[in-house]
Symmetry: C2
Subunit: 228 residues, 2 copies
Amino acid sequence: MISLRGISKAYSMGDTTLWALDNIDLDIHKGEFVAVMGASGSGKSTLMNILGCLDVPTRGVYSLDGAEVQSLSRNELADLRNRKLGFVFQSFNLLPRTAAIENVELPMLYNHRVTPHESRQRALAALDAVGLADRAHHYSNQLSGGQQQRVAIARSIVNDPVLMLADEPTGNLDTRTSVEVMAIFQGLNSRGITVVLVTHEQDIAQYTKRNVVFRDGKILSDSPVASP
Amino acid sequence: MISLRGISKAYSMGDTTLWALDNIDLDIHKGEFVAVMGASGSGKSTLMNILGCLDVPTRGVYSLDGAEVQSLSRNELADLRNRKLGFVFQSFNLLPRTAAIENVELPMLYNHRVTPHESRQRALAALDAVGLADRAHHYSNQLSGGQQQRVAIARSIVNDPVLMLADEPTGNLDTRTSVEVMAIFQGLNSRGITVVLVTHEQDIAQYTKRNVVFRDGKILSDSPVASP
Ligand SMILES: Nc1ncnc2c1ncn2[C@@H]1O[C@H](COP(=O)(O)OP(=O)(O)OP(=O)(O)O)[C@@H](O)[C@H]1O
Ligand SMILES: Nc1ncnc2c1ncn2[C@@H]1O[C@H](COP(=O)(O)OP(=O)(O)OP(=O)(O)O)[C@@H](O)[C@H]1O
Ligand SMILES: [Mg+2]
Ligand SMILES: [Mg+2]
């Protein structure tokens, strides 16, 4: 499903170069459930943005579902992102003066296989799955931090993605709500959806099946999660 | 130091009223180290915004350092916030196209007791304390999520506040960085500074001395943290 070869991402800061990712090789097969961990600043979000086709690597090749992503046209990329990927951003990125339900419906606006009625039903179901059915008509700025995070999660699942990318999806959630959210991701994974999530919490990583640890833009370790 | 009596915060949503805080009584004495916990949406950030004089309660009285906050003029409030309070927001609230060091210096711009030279020295020391001396000149959008969170923490300590309010300050930080940040808060508290922090992680609450748990806008429990 995902193949990274020699992936690097450089930022030039004046006369120095910062390698946010440094020559990464990584394979993730269909149906895997991967936790990406590592210190603050170690390259996790940079990796997620490249996997999500939101950023382009400086070097290296990223193949998704067999196709080399850099050879796709802008339209093909937009279509791929919309139809195949679900993305939960570290900073949520909700539309501010827009109701929760409209934020969740947004990915379906461009999806011709979903009718407006079906889109609203799916959005309500997704909000219900994250415990926010009663917040559907709150605007983003009328929601708590953890509620905004959950709206972002609901938005990421409505298009039935084949690849779910979640960057710190439980960072603002209490334990009980985190457990509910991880149950959603486990449910997706048990239906064959590939899930890659960034977390800094071991308790959350325990729900996944493989742990890839980053340090200073490189992969430090890559190992299975011991089944409890 | 902090006295809340009958504090309520209501939001009217159409024909219903949502009580984000519901008749809260709370005393926090000088030098205390309090963790505020509770489910997502239980009222923690609403409490922090009232404590930080960033929001006004619908009912009730908030006294800070003996003065009733609602009786203060706008200038007195702004002065109080700038001189006495340190605030770390759940969503960081950094100025986007502004370097980390300038974000950290911001609270000192209006502080007449700090020279520009001293302001830069203090800002660099604060960034160093959170491990970001080498990121001083990155703009906010050139920083990772956890780095932005740490810049927000550095900004909150530079004016030597008497009351530190931190809303989920380790939500985006790996374990080792979280430990470094909690050491900063413990250091402040050992110098007599009152620290109130919201967290959803028990491991973080363990660093504090008192745990106040919210549920549905009310205080569910209020107990000392067992010393390890
Ligand atoms: N402007 C607003 N209008 C309407 N309701 C609001 C508004 N702001 C907050 N709320 C509601 O008030 C409740 C408390 O919000 P608050 O942000 O204090 O929760 P919290 O405990 O900080 O949650 P979290 O852990 O998710 O950050 C939530 O249920 C939220 O939906
Ligand atoms: N636009 C940019 N310009 C320069 N440096 C950048 C830029 N974006 C990110 N960086 C740097 O790249 C490194 C990796 O950032 P990244 O966001 O991937 O880290 P992360 O592992 O997600 O961290 P966190 O756990 O704090 O979210 C960081 O050290 C950051 O300072
Ligand atoms: Mg990140
Ligand atoms: Mg909050």
